[in-house]
């Protein structure tokens, strides 16, 4: 089978799993939906983290921004937000299907736009920082955002906000959101694939390898970083909007700005799959999701220990990730030419 045929087969399998998955395993629909969101997390994190070498710990911020923006649009279109959020329970906004889907569509769009605007503004502030300072800076504003939203009574404060009730049976609802998650992940994948194929991919890698040289060659480094982050924020904003509606009830710390869960998971998934590769985030997200479900089910109480151990093992022994390892093992399959002299030199150095 040629490589082109293998690729078609791979895409076909993903398509069948994406559409057929929840029909074959109806009990796991929610978990499959989360898997697509995880893949999206990893793919968008890798635009900056893997391809450009800017390790953000704050990308989950855009997820929360999209989620809250969407919720406020959905509620605000049909009722008064402050009355709605201050009412106890709150979870009784019943809409006609037409109202519901208009609200969801507009909300998701607004979530994407607002998240993108925040990416431009924050990028302007934090892209002056390098290395660990960038990571800490991005972590800082995400933690701050969770706390600020928690103190903001108009949007429900720490108590959160309930989203409009889905106008239909629960099974239909979970299938719909599963499908939306799948489509969004596919579009995100195709978008980054297209980005990496052109000048953006090379410029990103140039910034990763030597940003000072890239500046000296006249590359618009700030522009590339900002655009990369904004595209990531756009997808994270929509995914937040969809995820919020899928869960049905959102609050700032655990659902919208979950820095220590999703915020860290997106980094771990890229490390596991291989930073700076197209398929690495996808493979990493899938493997990580399985790992997480297994440990959360069978090692309850120890799941965080298992996660910590995984992170340590990855960072110490397996920095290149699955795809990085495959590229080292079979470089020619990935279109990489290796100088035989260099290989011989490296292996003799390793032997000594």
């Amino acid at each position: 089978m040629s490589i082109a045929q293998q690729k078609i087969l791979l895409y076909a399998v993903i398509l069948v799993l994406g559409i057929g998955g929840p029909l074959i395993f109806p009990n796991y629909t929610f978990q499959i939906s989360v898997l697509w969101v995880m893949i999206l997390f990893a793919l968008t994190w890798d635009i900056l983290g893997g391809q450009m070498g800017y390790n953000s710990l704050g990308n989950i911020f855009f997820f929360g921004v999209g989620m809250y923006t969407c919720a406020l649009v959905q509620v605000g279109l049909y009722t008064d937000v402050s009355v709605y959020t201050s009412a106890t329970g709150g979870a009784n906004l019943r809409l006609t299907p037409e109202e519901y889907f208009i609200g969801l569509g507009l909300g998701a769009f607004a979530g994407a736009i607002v998240a993108s605007i925040f990416a431009v503004i924050f990028g302007w502030v934090v892209f002056g920082l390098r290395g660990p300072y960038f990571a800490i800076g991005t972590l800082g504003f995400t933690l701050a955002a969770g706390e600020l939203v928690g103190a903001w009574e108009w949007v429900g404060g720490g108590g959160g906000i309930a989203l409009p009730v889905y106008p239909g049976p629960p099974d239909e609802r979970s299938l719909l959101f599963n499908f939306l998650c799948f489509i969004l992940a596919v579009i995100a994948f195709l978008t980054v694939k297209w980005m990496y194929a052109g000048q953006f991919g090379l410029a990103a890698n140039a910034i990763r390898d030597d940003e000072e040289k890239a500046e000296a060659m006249g590359i618009h480094t700030l522009r590339y970083k900002t655009v990369g982050w904004t595209i990531a924020a756009f997808f994270l904003g929509i995914s937040g909007a969809i995820f919020g509606n899928m869960v049905g009830f959102i609050e700032p710390l655990e659902v919208a700005f979950p820095t220590v869960t999703f915020g860290i998971f997106m980094v771990v998934m890229c490390l596991l799959g291989g930073k700076g590769t197209l398929w690495g985030p996808v493979v990493g997200a899938a493997l990580f999701h399985i790992f997480k479900e297994v440990t959360w089910t069978y090692m309850l109480g120890w799941q965080w220990v298992a996660l910590g151990a995984l992170i340590i093992i990855l960072v110490v022994f397996f920095q290149q990730g699955v795809m990085g390892w495959l590229q080292e093992k079979w470089p020619s399959r990935f279109g990489i030419t290796v100088d035989e002299n260099v290989v011989a030199k490296k292996s003799s150095e390793a032997a000594q």
Binding site: M195, Q199, A203, N205, A206, D209, K213, A216, M217, T337
Partner: protein, 253 residues
């Protein structure tokens, strides 16, 4: 003949150390201008000042009549002034062709060109320039795996890919195998004569400067010591005295 770069009364100090004091010089278009001087005489500092790496304390630097002393590195690079580094810098995890492709000029590009794929013409140009520096057979290798000398040649080819008007070279022959130096000098000359790129070269290797440059400036202790044709400069008493302290290569010639 006009001057591409005009440096006027530039001073730069770091803390209490004066690296450049009241330096004025011209880089004429279409020529090779040399910059020599003992270690620590302020040559690289002057380069860094010109390309915008750090602000200058006093004076003015003009490129094609435009004041550039308050501009940032990438802006100046996009005007068509490029520099190579003393410790060669390339994108070490990418292969040579990709290093070349991303070095296309960024002068006029807008947001839309960020996502453009590369056309056959660009690929051909990258191949041609790799051929020009003698790296064509290694074009698909990861550039970090090349030898130091080859990396230097790649950096030079990347600079040519950018189609600069003037190229500032910081010790282009340092660390290069002596048998390859003649080939490199030949290529530097051809960059000027065939591609019309003005060169401004820091060089320690005296025979190279004498061979290559049309006129030479000599710095010592941060000041401009002498200026003239290579012959004039190398016979200048002050230059010989300045070099006798640490550098004896003058006598080889």
């Amino acid at each position: 003949m006009s001057n591409l770069i005009e440096v006027r009364n530039v001073s730069k100090s770091f803390g209490g150390v004066v690296a450049n004091r009241d330096i004025s010089l011209d880089v004429p278009e279409g020529r090779v201008t040399g910059l020599i001087g003992p270690n620590g005489s302020g040559k690289t500092t002057l380069f860094n000042s010109i390309v915008g790496y750090h602000p200058i304390d006093e004076g003015s630097i003009q490129f094609e009549g435009q004041e550039i002393s308050d501009m940032m590195v990438p802006e100046i690079a996009r005007l068509g002034m490029l520099r190579t580094f003393q410790q060669t810098r390339i994108y070490s995890k990418m292969d040579c062709v990709k290093n070349m492709l991303i070095s296309l000029p960024h002068r006029t590009e807008g947001y839309s060109s960020m996502f453009k794929p590369y056309g056959a013409e660009t690929m051909e140009k990258a191949d041609r320039l790799l051929e020009f520096v003698g790296l064509y057979s290694k074009r698909h290798l990861i550039s970090g795996d090349l030898s130091f000398g080859q990396q230097k040649l790649l950096e030079f080819a990347m600079a040519l890919m950018n189609e600069p008007k003037v190229l500032l070279l910081d010790e282009p022959t340092a660390g290069i195998n002596p048998t390859l130096i003649n080939g490199l000098i030949d290529r530097l000359r051809r960059a000027t004569t065939e591609l019309g790129i003005t060169l401004f070269v820091i060089e320690h290797n005296m025979p190279v400067v004498m061979n290559l440059a049309d006129n030479v400036y000599c710095l010592a202790n941060g000041r401009l010591l002498a200026h003239g044709t290579p012959d004039e400069v190398q016979n200048d008493e002050r230059v010989i005295n300045a070099y006798l302290g640490g550098h004896l290569e003058m006598e080889d010639h």
